[in-house]
Structures are given as structure tokens and as C-alpha cells.
Symmetry: C2
Subunit: 353 residues, 2 copies
DNA sequence: CGCCCCATTGATCCGCTTCAATAGCTGTGG
DNA sequence: CCACAGCTATTGAAGCGGATCAATGGGGCG
């Protein structure tokens, strides 16, 4: 019988979930009421899977995961986050730390169960692969084994070629043959396309710790857009051929990469929907939020970007963007000082229109 | 020294390219002036890489590739297409047949060379993996080895669960937890999102032989959009867990899948650009082209779709779409009969605005 | 044969772009 | 240290493209 460790501070949720898992789904369940206890029980019990609340007093879920990742005994145990937050940001943070899944409260029985099952299935496969890799396979042993995207990032940092750029420097241009995949160490990058009339539309913004430039790994296909820095930026690049070699020996990471792409795809589809039917005012708000999240994701909510850049992301004219920001200013949602825009009321911005 | 087989009917291109490869890049080059000779030389010489023109009298490039894929001796030789056509359609066709890369004429020395190098590098890795897999690795031997996306499609056809739908039936809805990945056997599917006001935007159209529903493989994440049939459709679905198992043992296919996603991403970014700045007339033309390519990609250019569906893809109002089509009708670019739209002048449609 | 949905056309209204002019900021050289 | 050049931001006015509302026509299916 599979053993599940459930870490959750809310007594009611903890007990009802444990009951569900134990009597309906027939797992063996261990519970912990806080992060410390959870961490200790994980070490002593070595469960098959860990389900852990994110928001807990003192040691939160992120810390538990981080601790467990450091220990070779526990680092391969599938880790599922339980959270009330549905923010993309939070989900990403958890995933980046190496979580395997993310369930938001309230969840249905079916959701929980399917997450657990798919995790267990995957971990079984990975265990098998790991044992194969550990025994035979000498020829590729010199290549590091990567557990998740974080490890891939470390690889980039250690073995990639560093490049430095000032503001508004082009890293690659649409149509260039793609040779490198990049990771941003510091700064931010926009990628944009031009239409026939020469108008610019920014399709993505990448920040510190983001990968970019991954068009096609197998084929020698031109970049579909131009990448340009929007602040002084340091990146590391890894040649695609090298990356392919690496990925061929690290299956889990490839799947994570597929996920990253799928995530990008979702984001762009959202942008597409906005672009098609939203009012300018809404586009402006969405753009400000995007920048707040991407560029200044850890500092406070001051955005320092040219109006033109903002307009290009929103896909509207410069003047219209400015008018729209003025309106937000009048409504008391933002504060403007020169080119700096400070978000005063984040929630109001999210619900514009 | 690596041996390259170059199949190209145009004497001038053949000779100059051969010269380039031989004297500048120092490969050993064999040439063939048509498909038959090329095929025979491939079998006898077993080159390390094959570069082949697509458009040739009698046996064209596609046929050569198809023939070579059938022979176990030649099926693993990297195959690069050389073509004057830059159409996405053509590129896709080649890739689907299992080509490894696609270079468009005229090409630069650097383009050609980097394609060859990256192919050779990849094939070296794959050879190594193949030998490892063939020797050890009994535990997963019962799982089929897949060479490319085509093989993956075969797997779907053989082991997937079949579903049948009439027109306008929902396959999955935005927010559903994703369990299956689908392959279309017959028919066509649109995937769309709704905005707050309930307006619909179609973000993708999938046709026969397309995969869809691949949101995230590792995570138990909701579908980001709704999939609905636009004609009677038969699909096969494979559970994600199963797919992950499969993919873990088939590295090459995963990379192909990454490419497919990257390709989708490119397509959507293009749509985004159109959406932002194109006139309605241009959006209409682009939409018609999209349908011509997607829905009726092998029959002639008659499109039979509701006006509303067209409008949803274009992201414009129904009436505006109709007016725009009327204009195309007046210009003699299309012909309308009831709900059928026939494209008379494909090129004119491509260059609208 | 008639109903109903879908396609089409007309008229009106408004949001957004564009063009144009001014104000404000930054940096550079005398 | 100031003045001027050359950006970037802001505001105003005009025009138009596309959405919306409304009414009519047409074709397929029960």
C-alpha cells in the first residue's frame, strides 16, 4: 500500500483529507500539522508521496520542499503543493522549486486522486530509469543528471557562454538561424515581431531566471521573433547541439520543458483573447500587470519602461496608451512620475472593465 | 570523413553545392541527378547524411524519403530537404514524413553547414542511444521504439481509445482537468476561449492527423481552452500517464513534440500580430487561408464553415466578416454559394492589404 | 409547405488611430 | 552652469473603421 504524507496546518482540512485518502482511496496516510513536523516525518517515514500546504505559519511549504530537496533520501519523493492561491506566479514558484504538481483548494476528490495517481506513475518510471542509469550507461556518465528545470538552470550557469548587453540591444533577430538557447541571469528581455507596416508587437517578456530562444531543438529553424533587452542584461547561452545531448540523457527535464512551452502557449492564447476583444483600457491594465509581474517581480510595484514599449505589448497606439494611463491615474489606481509608474491599487488594476 | 549524398536535379545547384561541401567543408560528397539514382546510391553507399531536393521530375523528394524510411538500413540516416518553397504546409509535410531538417533555397553556406552539423551531432547521439537500448534495458523492451511523430501517431491509432463525435460537440471544456491527449483520425476540431462578455475566440484549428489537448504532460493542469468539433470527427485518446511512460523511453519523439509545441507557439504569435494591427480585411483573408489549409488541406479550395466560426477565428464581428467576404467576392478573389466559399485566386488572397 | 436558422445589407454610433502641436526631460558641449 | 538639441510624454482635434442594432432575404429540414 502506498504511503502518503499530508502536511497541512488547518485541522479540518487535514483530517477530512486524510480520511478521504485512507478510507476511500485506501492509501496509508501520515499527517503532520506543520512544516517542521512534516519535514521530520518525511525523513523518518520516507513516504511514497508528499502533499503539502503552501501557506503555513513558521515553516511554509516552499521551505519544506527546499529542505527535502537537499536530502538525497527525500529528493526524489513526489511533492504536491496544496494551495488556496491560484495565481500563476505562485504556481510557477512552486514548480520552479521542483514541486511536481499543484492542487488548489477547494479540490474535488477526483482532482486529488488523479494528481496522486499520475505522480505515483511517473515516479515509478523515474525510479526505474534512475536505476538503469546508475548501473550501466558509462558512456554518458560524465554528463550531469538533472532533476528539474532548476538543475538545468544550474547547468546553464556553469557551462553556458555568458553575454552582456546594455539596454535596447538586440540579442537575436527574427529570421536568424537559431543556435543558442538563453537563460537570463539578470535584467529583462522582450521578444517582438514586426508587421508589414513596421509596427511592433511584443509577444513575450522574459525576466531573470527565464529561458528564452527555444524555438526548435531538433531543427535548424529561424527564430520567429526578435529578442531585445529592456534593461542592462546578462544572459548565458548554450548551443542547441549541446542542449540536445544533455536532454537526451535527462528525460524528466525534457518533460518539464514541454510543460514550460505549454505554459507559454497558454499565456499567449490569453493575450490573444485580450487582443481580440478587450477595450484599450483593459489592455493597458493587463500590460501594466504583466510588467509588474515580469520586470519588477520582486521589488515593489514601480514600473520604469518607455510608453512606447508598453504600447507595443498592449498592441495599441502610443497616444491611446497614454490616455488610458491618465485615466488610471485619475481613478487613483496608479501614480505617475516622469516615466515611472507606480501601482497603488493592484486589485483594482486586475478588475478593470 | 563524413559522407554526404546530395540529390538535386538542377545541374548548376548540384555542382556548386557539391563543390562547396567537398572543398570548403571537406565532406566526401556523392551526387545524384534524380530520385531513382539517389535512392539506389543511398542503399549502396549508406551515406552519413542525405540532402535532397523536394521538387524533382518523376520521383520527388517525398517519395525518396518514404522509400528510404522503409528500409532498416537507411531509415536512420538523417535526411535534409532542400526546397524553394517556404510554405509552412510544405515544411510540415516534409517533417511529418520524418525529415530531420528543411533548408530553403537560396541558402547561405553557413545555413547549410550548420544544418549538416547539427544533424550529424544528433544522429551520433541517437546511434549511441540505439545501441544502448538494443543491448540492455530489458525491462522496457515490451514498449515499442518510436522513431518520429509518425510512429507516435501509429501508437495512438493502435492503442488509443477511440471516440466519435458529431458536428459541434464539445470534446473537453476549459477548466477540465486534462487526462487525455488526442489525435484526430478524421474530421476537424477548433479550440476556443471565451472572454468575460462571452465572446468566442478560436485560438487553434486542428485537422486530420493533428494532435491536440497536450497542455501539460507532467502536471495535472486544467485545459486552457475548449475543444469542439466543426465536422463529424473521430479521434483517439491516450491517457497522459501512458503517454509519459512511452515518452520516457523515446527521447527523439519528445524532442519532436517540443518542436511541435514550438511550432504552435510560432503560429499563435503570428495570429497575435495579425490580431493587433491588421485591418479586418486582412484578418478575413488570413482566416480563409487558415481554413483552406486546415480543413480542406487535400481537397480543393472550397470552404464550408459557418460565418460565425470564421468570425470567431478572425476575432471580428459576424457582420464585419460578411462584409469583408463580400468585398473579396467583388474583387473576384472568392466565389460564394450559400455557405460554401470557393477560393478563386489563392495568391491574391495571400497578399490582401 | 412553412418554420427557423443563417447569411446579407443598411444605418448609426463610438472607440481608437492618426496627425499635429506643446510641454517636459536628459544629456551634451560651450 | 546654462542653453539648446533632441528625445519622450502629454493633450487636442478630426476622421474613420468596425461594432452594434435592426430589418430582410434565402435555403435546408422536418
Amino acid at each position: 500500500m502506498k504511503k502518503i504524507l499530508l502536511i497541512e496546518d488547518d485541522q479540518i482540512i487535514r483530517e477530512s483529507t486524510a480520511e478521504l485518502l485512507e478510507f476511500v482511496e485506501h492509501y496509508s496516510v501520515i499527517t503532520a500539522e506543520n512544516g517542521e513536523v512534516g519535514y521530520r516525518k518525511a525523513l523518518t517515514e520516507l513516504p511514497d508521496i508528499i502533499i503539502c500546504d503552501v501557506m503555513m505559519p513558521k515553516t511554509d511549504g516552499y521551505e519544506v520542499l527546499e529542505q527535502l530537496s537537499l536530502n538525497p533520501k527525500t529528493k526524489f519523493i513526489p511533492f504536491i503543493f496544496l494551495s488556496a492561491k491560484t495565481e500563476r506566479k505562485d504556481v510557477r514558484k512552486g514548480m520552479n522549486l521542483g514541486a511536481d504538481d499543484y492542487i488548489t483548494k477547494p479540490f474535488t476528490e477526483e482532482e486529488l486522486n488523479s494528481a496522486i495517481e499520475s505522480r505515483l506513475a511517473k515516479s515509478a518510471i523515474l525510479n526505474e530509469l534512475r536505476s538503469i542509469e546508475e548501473s550501466g550507461n558509462k558512456s554518458t556518465n560524465n554528463i550531469k543528471q538533472l532533476k528539474n528545470l532548476n538543475d538545468l538552470k544550474d547547468f546553464f550557469k556553469n557551462y553556458g557562454i555568458p553575454f552582456s548587453y546594455e539596454t535596447n540591444k538586440v540579442i537575436y533577430e527574427e529570421g536568424n538561424r537559431s543556435k543558442y538557447v538563453f537563460l537570463i541571469l539578470e535584467g529583462a528581455v522582450k521578444s517582438y515581431k514586426l508587421n508589414e507596416q513596421g509596427k511592433t508587437l511584443t509577444t513575450s517578456i522574459y525576466k531573470e531566471d527565464d529561458f528564452f530562444g527555444y524555438t526548435s531543438f531538433s531543427n535548424n529553424i529561424p527564430y520567429p521573433d526578435t529578442a531585445e533587452t529592456i534593461k542592462p542584461t546578462k544572459v548565458v547561452g548554450v548551443k542547441k547541439e549541446k542542449l540536445i545531448t544533455l536532454l537526451n540523457n535527462n528525460h524528466k527535464v525534457v518533460l518539464d520543458l514541454v510543460d514550460l512551452l505549454a505554459d507559454n502557449l497558454k499565456e499567449i492564447k490569453d493575450q490573444l483573447l485580450d487582443m481580440a476583444y478587450s477595450s484599450v483600457h483593459k489592455k493597458t491594465s493587463a500590460t501594466l500587470l504583466k510588467f509588474a509581474e515580469k520586470i519588477n517581480y520582486k521589488s515593489d510595484d514601480i514600473i520604469k519602461v518607455s510608453r512606447q514599449d508598453l504600447a507595443n505589448v498592449a498592441g495599441i497606439s502610443l497616444e491611446t496608451l497614454i490616455r488610458s494611463i491618465s485615466k488610471l491615474k485619475k481613478e487613483g489606481i496608479v501614480e505617475v512620475d516622469g516615466r515611472n509608474i507606480k501601482i497603488l491599487d493592484l486589485n483594482a488594476l486586475k478588475t478593470v472593465e
